[in-house]
Subunit: 273 residues, 2 copies
């Protein structure tokens, strides 16, 4: 009940933690893939080979990686050629040895199946950090492309490629020339779906259409039974969108629970509902 | 909110499943250990070596295993000598090879540290099934020892040895000669804490003291911040015990939620609250 309620239903007064062992080995790869569909199939392959061993599986569109490479200090392309999509894969294990071979086998099978077009496995902690820096600068460097309308959505993992395809079509139909730059946690079905303005467009004019772009993207999310707010919550910014995407019965239930648990309305007022 | 509410707050109308890959290899061991403390340390060792690879870790007291071996068809002692406690360990992995070696290494280190006194790793599916049959018949064969007062409790995993020690002392102080037979899911902190009547005692007289035995055991559970109902729920049988173990504020909140979500009292009436 309290997960995702953002403090509107109660206050944390105690926490119980379950500790998990620190991994003994970690391996990181940066791979070019042909499409989000290929990335998804590669994720399935990695999961099937390692079960809980896939600790990160991040998807990135080429244009975003290009922008990072152009603007972020210390980042260079880990791969020689250009690829339309990239994934950053991190495997972790309690075994001291064998994880690198496992990662290489997964990538080799991905190459064989035509999913992966090229890949680099980090040879050092520094190289792994550089792969991560490309991913971490992905959102930040989008400002060099002008205005950007941002979304933090989730859909079932298997529906991510369909979401990207349909959302791209929807936003480009709405604003011809706009540039979708999806990236994020494919392994969790959580995509940061950002849309940059068309080249040469007026930034303010573009940002005025924020709600329209949102509506187009959230329509696809709803169709795929996803959430308009994955890891970043509802807060104030997305509060007024809830009635557009939530079932009225669900919203009514949320309001009833809020009244029951916080009759005086003193818990994080103004958020979520 | 709905987990553990036993249908008293709502009705399941849809479910989303996340599929996990079927393990490629499974290894099973039956080990004699010196004490619940040793079993816990061995669990820590196995978890640290395999992370998510420990898929079962079951604790059994000798007297219960003895009763199984005497009464259950097809079960024989996997170990030559008698040990005060046993654990059934199952490891699962997506790797085709290497899991047996990993299990043997864990047991060898357990032997070295004085936690494990002897162990057998199943050489065939049949042998693994026999190990499991000993565990599965543990509860059922207790009827050969006469009346049994049963509990299904959970405490933090690290507190299981302390729970067993204190609960044993409490029930033996209450009914001298009674025989505690703890067993169950040490890996989850969920122990089936059953107490058999003293040898030669009158079964009905013993079972009349069910509530007293419960109270003694639940006192230890409460002290260790555990739950009086781990995997078997509250239902009708444990409903009247809730006020004795739950904070009045928590109970009041439960009642308020029940009134809010089921004002007409039509959802699984009479259960839990």
């Amino acid at each position: 009940l309290f997960i995702g309620a953002e403090g509107t239903l109660g206050i944390i007064t105690a926490a119980v933690l379950r500790l998990v062992p620190r991994p003994r080995s970690v391996e990181t790869a940066f791979a070019g893939v042909t499409s989000p569909e290929a990335a998804l199939e590669l994720l399935g392959l990695a999961t099937e080979r390692t079960a809980g061993g896939v600790t990160s599986f991040e998807l990135m569109a080429r244009m975003g990686v290009e922008t990072v490479l152009k603007h972020a200090a210390g980042c260079r392309d880990p791969l020689a050629a250009v690829h339309p999509w990239y994934v950053l894969i991190e495997l972790s294990s309690q075994a001291r040895a064998g994880l690198r071979e496992q990662l290489e086998e997964i990538l080799a099978e991905g190459l064989e199946r035509g999913l992966v077009t090229d890949a680099a496995v980090a040879d050092s902690l520094d190289q792994a950090k550089m792969f991560w820096r490309i991913r971490e600068m992905f959102g930040e460097t989008q400002r060099y492309l002008g205005g950007s309308v941002k979304h933090d959505i989730s859909v079932p993992v298997a529906a991510v490629p369909e979401f990207i395809r349909e959302a791209n079509a929807a936003v480009v139909a709405l604003i011809p020339g706009c540039r979708p730059l999806p990236f994020g946690h494919l392994g969790d079905g959580n995509i940061h779906y950002n849309v940059s303005q068309p080249v040469g467009a007026d930034k303010d004019e573009f940002l005025k259409r924020w709600d329209e772009v949102n509506a187009a993207v959230f329509g696809v999310v709803a169709k795929l039974h996803g959430s308009i707010s994955a890891e970043h919550g509802i807060g104030v910014l997305k509060r007024d969108m809830l009635p557009k995407v939530k079932d009225p019965v669900a919203l009514d239930l949320m309001r009833t629970l809020k009244r029951t648990l916080d009759p005086k309305g003193i818990l994080n007022p103004g958020k979520v509902l």
